[in-house]
Symmetry: C2
DNA sequence: TTGCGTGCAAAGGTTTTGCATGGCA
DNA sequence: TGCCATGCAAAACCTTTGCACGCAA
């Protein structure tokens, strides 16, 4: 099954790359193109996101308050493969944290607990500094 | 606003305690009582779960594949307050892991990154030993 | 008796699916 | 031309809400 290169697919991927630092919802994509460029059908957005997720170019989260899924670019050029994400449950801000200690978590858990963490799917929840903790 | 003690509320709490080691969905509760005891209305299940969550007796997760929310008892008698949860994205099994190293994560992140992790809301995703990693 | 809780059905929101049409190769 | 991709609308989910009735205190 060959794969076609369509305008819509390019537009969505471009959008994901441009917004690689935030968590994007399907609705944001739909709304964006509705008002800024040529509208893209809802189904098309979902189908392309699914494909990008299967191809490991985008990863999918479901945020704690459950109001739909979030997507984020994680392909070439993104620096989000090795670090962890922290989401403030109060203000919703997403933080990207990378440090040696955090990197040790994966190896510790793998060695001692035989569990291979997929850091790209894991999000820590809590309260950030701004929101007073 | 006084709070009444109803049969349904007790049934749901009992169910949560009995199943404190797994992630339970609203639908599981509805189905269970539909077939095993007196059925409980959908809305009642959701309303009581919400209340239990506000009261910090149950916590709510949204699992990675996005098919609805999961709930888990975390009140007295549960040992899930201080440790982390690991969910295998292949078999769906939920693991409860507690060890000193993991406990250091919270204090490290708090000290160095000014983020106060809520470990009861955080779930690590990855592949477990059984599923070959 | 008071007023919170329940249950049903309807509404709301997100995501998926069916099907005819459009467009890449 | 062949076949995948798109777009629309409808369907399928999960969850919330409105409202009348039931039941705990």
């Amino acid at each position: 099954m060959a794969e076609y290169r369509t305008r819509q697919r390019e537009m969505i991927l471009d959008y994901m790359i441009k917004n690689k630092d935030i968590h994007v919802t399907a609705d944001m994509i739909i709304k964006y193109f509705q008002f800024h460029e040529t509208p893209i059908g809802k189904a098309t957005v979902y189908r392309n996101l699914d494909k990008l997720v299967s191809d490991n170019i985008v990863r999918k989260f479901t945020i704690e308050d459950g109001t739909g899924a979030c997507y984020q670019y994680s392909g070439a050029g993104s620096r989000c493969r090795e670090h962890y994400h922290f989401k403030c449950t109060r203000c919703g801000e997403l933080y990207h944290i990378q440090c040696d200690f955090m990197n040790e978590i994966s190896s510790h858990v793998y060695k001692e607990h035989k569990f291979k963490i997929d850091s790209s799917k894991t999000v820590f929840y809590g309260i950030c500094e701004k929101c007073g903790n």
